[in-house]
């Protein structure tokens, strides 16, 4: 049954993702005909330079980045839910986004104070370094604390501490710094470039492969630590690997798109509900594909719903995703009752 379901769900995800990508390439605030798009994409037609640049420099990098980071966020959500055995845990629960914001706030204040500048590249680097520093802190505790619930609480506390220090710093920041931090906190794929895509792909795809190859010990871990140990899984090393992979994926998202809410918590749920299994070997690719599909569609909504005003991606991910999850949960309960 599970195999039949997988045979339906995976092709469905792929077809829907392809459709979402085609739709996103076609729809935008500037109307470009399907024929022109085909000519631009496959024949390299540059006769309409505006359309060419919109397709190649704005829409495509944005779509690819949204699918890569959407997949990464969803996958990191699945990993964290597996790790904590907690269905409402999200990838930013370890304080990743708060750490990113704190380090970004510090960097912004220093940069604008000294150079009157805060280049986009520095924003990306600062967010990434901040995320990794929080991750490092969590990893230090991971080796020392056995209880998952205590580690979860530690993650939340790290998040609070980072937020408190950020709020403290904001008191000394100038208005423009505060505006920039607020914009970053709302998340967006607006400034996506091919360079961002390459760097993200360099981080996300190898991580995805490593996680995929770890699906067998992960399945054993889900059956209980004792069972995993009996199969020869080094629990301590495995926990570190899981936290590290989660942290790297969510740090990459925070760096290139800011903290995107909901995707990491809900998309693994959607995948699980559709597949009706928690087996990592199925859930890892499913979460990634579903996250990519979800983010591409949400980004399309963010840039077109109130065009030319662009919404933050988190507004759309939460507004669309939450009702879907509620509907899936309720319909599953009804079916169980029947």
């Amino acid at each position: 049954m599970s195999r039949i379901r997988s045979c339906i769900v995976f092709p469905l995800f792929l077809v829907l993702l392809l459709a979402a990508v085609i739709l996103s390439i076609h729809i935008g605030s500037v109307s470009i005909s399907a024929k022109d798009i085909v000519d631009i994409l496959f024949k390299g037609d540059r006769s309409n330079s505006v359309a060419y640049n919109i397709i190649w420099k704005i829409r495509l990098p944005r779509i690819v980045l949204a699918s890569l980071l959407g997949g990464a966020l969803s996958l990191s959500g699945f990993l964290i839910q597996t790790f904590f055995r907690n269905p409402i845990a999200g990838p930013f629960v370890l304080g990743i986004s708060s750490g990113a914001k704190l380090f970004l706030a510090i960097t912004t204040i220093i940069m604008t104070g000294l150079f009157n500048q805060m280049p986009v590249s520095v924003t990306v680097i600062a967010s990434f370094v901040g995320s990794l520093l929080s991750l490092l802190l969590v990893l230090l505790f991971t080796g020392k604390v056995r209880s998952m619930s205590i580690l979860l609480v530690i993650g939340i506390m790290i998040s609070y501490i980072c937020s408190a220090i950020t709020d403290l710093l904001i008191n000394f920041a100038n208005d423009s710094d505060i505006v920039n931090l607020t914009h970053w906190s709302m998340g967006s794929f607006s400034a996506a470039t091919w360079q961002d895509v390459y760097i993200s792909a360099f981080i996300v795809l190898p991580t995805l492969l490593i996680v995929f190859f770890a699906s067998k010990p992960m399945g054993a871990y889900l059956m209980g630590e004792g069972y995993a140990k009996s199969l020869g899984v080094n629990i301590r090393a495995f926990r570190v690997l899981l936290v590290l992979m989660t942290g790297i994926l969510s740090s990459c998202v925070a760096a290139f798109a800011g903290p995107i809410s909901f995707v990491g918590i809900a998309v693994p749920h959607i995948s699980r509900l559709l597949l009706k299994t928690s087996k990592p070997i199925l859930m890892i690719p499913a979460s990634f594909l579903c996250g990519a599909l979800f983010c591409v569609l949400c980004d399309l909504g963010a840039r077109t719903l109130f065009s030319p005003t662009e919404l933050s991606i988190s507004t759309v991910t939460s507004a669309i995703g939450a009702p879907i999850v509620i509907w899936l949960l309720i319909s599953r309960r009804r079916r169980n009752e029947d």
Partner: protein
């Protein structure tokens, strides 16, 4: 002879139809519209107060609410064109038959003729203009019929004093200043707040505190949290009236204000949303001048008022005409008895605008935006004062469908491909460095968003940048328009710097 007879015949026939001109005086009259959404407040039975002076008729009508912000005598399409004279609102106190009172917006509408429809467009908080037809009929001398009377829409604010005049305002419509014998003044703001200025050595007339907040001259030790007002005090040469600031020394781009703070003459007393109540109280501050941002922190306003500190909300940001903002210098002039100086400063700015008005508009297409540290493109809304300044200077703001800023943020995050398609062929780029990083080279701007390299203005070298002080220089908006006008004309090919703007290298 036959022609004269025919003309007389036509006049005799048409006279009853067009209506005989009314004598100067005050009348109540029916005010009819073509919409159930646009009508007179129920308390006034569809009537307005028609004033005839030197043959010119104006009707004051009070609306049911504060939803309508401006009217325009004409079509909606013309209301947004440069130079369109909008009808600003007053804030009327309406008393219903059951004793219930409420605040509502009122308008003084010029009436071209009686008993015949004319165009009157309106704009609400959403910023969209709508066409309407209105008519005025059945004028009856005021007081002779149940309806409104001369003072029904406004409470008696004379406090037993003889009124001596009202401050002349050319562009501002968000405040008024009435003068009374003995040097008393009444400042009324569009949000309905009133401040009664008591001259030094005079006593407060009875009944004032019920309808206005008393302020005793000389007014000093002011807590200034509205950054846009600092330059107005500076232009009046009256920074000495300010003791406390809502911004730190490094936050000021007005040299004298920064120096005063560095010398300890003005103290930092916390931002508008986190004031140091103890310092403010200990400084014997009688007045806090806040920006409209205080509307998001009403508990702070209430706390200040509980400490007997009057809170004057600077609503210059709501002025439709850019020079309306500058004209607020007259309000602060009235507070500090510096009316003459205020008039002189404002006249100078109005002169800049007059000089621009007389020249032919260049119609250059202008993009005004910045790229934030996350790479997002942030532009001002189409109805914002910056876009109006661009229009007054003879340019054309390229983002013409970003809505009005009334009741919303003045800036908007733009979808990149919309930005690219709209701004690519702009003749001139003005990079807004007031909020964003300070830049000096085109390459720095392109580094923030590589797409900008394709832009016409970048290729032709027509990229300018604002100085950091642009938003704080409320006084000099006339001069700013003048600088924009120079940028839009071809006379600045070799110029690299103008007041408030510099060319990127």
């Amino acid at each position: 002879m036959k022609r004269i007879a025919f003309f007389c015949f036509i006049v005799i026939i048409c006279f009853p139809v067009l209506g005989a001109p009314l004598k100067d005086g005050v009348y109540t009259a029916d005010f009819s519209t073509d919409s159930s959404m646009f009508h007179v407040n129920e308390a006034y039975n569809g009537k307005g107060l028609l004033t005839v002076k030197n043959g010119k008729m104006t009707i004051h009508v009070t609306m049911p609410s504060k939803q309508i912000l401006n009217l325009f005598r004409g079509k909606a399409a013309d209301a947004t064109s440069p130079g369109a004279v909008l009808i600003g609102h007053t804030v009327d106190t309406v008393t219903h038959s059951d004793g219930f009172t409420e605040k509502a917006h009122g308008f003084d509408i010029p009436v071209p003729y009686l008993d015949k429809e004319f165009d009157c467009a309106l704009v609400g908080k959403k910023g969209k203009w709508y066409d309407h037809k209105v008519s005025v009929s059945n004028p009856v001398p005021s007081g002779k019929e149940s309806g409104i009377t001369a003072d029904a829409s406004k409470p008696d604010l004379s406090f037993g004093l003889k009124a001596t005049g009202r401050m002349k305002l050319d562009y501002a419509n968000q405040f008024s200043v009435d003068y009374y014998e003995g040097g008393y003044k009444l400042i009324s703001l569009a949000d309905g707040s009133r401040f009664f200025i008591v001259p030094e050595g005079k006593r407060l007339p009875d009944g004032v505190s019920k309808s206005a907040v008393p302020l005793y001259q000389p007014i000093k030790n002011i807590y200034l949290a509205a950054t846009s007002a600092m330059c107005l005090f500076d232009s009046l040469d009256r920074l000495d009236a300010i003791k406390l600031s809502g911004a730190k020394a490094e936050g000021w781009y007005i040299p004298k204000a920064r120096t005063a703070m560095e010398e300890g003459k003005i103290l930092f007393a916390g931002k508008y949303n986190a004031p140091d109540y103890e310092l403010i109280t200990a400084s014997r501050c009688p007045l806090a001048v806040e920006s409209t941002m205080i509307g998001h922190a009403l508990n702070i306003k209430k706390q200040l008022e509980q400490l007997d500190i009057a809170v004057l909300v600077d609503q210059s940001g709501h002025e439709v005409h850019p020079l309306g903002r500058s004209e607020w210098i007259k309000l602060y002039g009235a507070l500090l008895n510096e009316e003459e100086k205020a008039d002189a400063v404002f006249s100078e700015q109005a002169g800049y605008l007059d000089s621009v008005k007389n020249s032919t508009p260049s119609e250059k297409r202008v993009a005004f935006f910045y790229v934030n540290s996350s790479g997002k493109i942030i532009a001002r809304r189409s109805g914002d004062y910056v876009s109006r300044m661009i229009a007054l200077a003879g340019g054309k703001y390229i983002f013409d469908n970003l809505g009005d800023d009334s009741g919303r943020m003045a800036t908007v995050s733009l979808e990149p491909e919309f930005f690219y398609s709209q701004a690519k062929d702009a003749d001139i780029i003005i990079y807004n460095a007031t909020i964003a990083d300070e830049i000096h080279f085109v390459s720095q701007m392109v580094g923030k968003s590589p797409l900008l390299a394709d832009f016409k203005a970048v290729k032709t070298g027509n990229v300018w940048c604002t100085n950091k002080n642009m938003y704080q220089e409320t006084t000099a908006l006339g001069q700013m328009i003048n600088s924009l006008h120079k940028i839009f004309s071809d006379s600045t090919a070799d110029v690299s710097e103008l007041p408030f703007f510099y060319r990127l290298k």
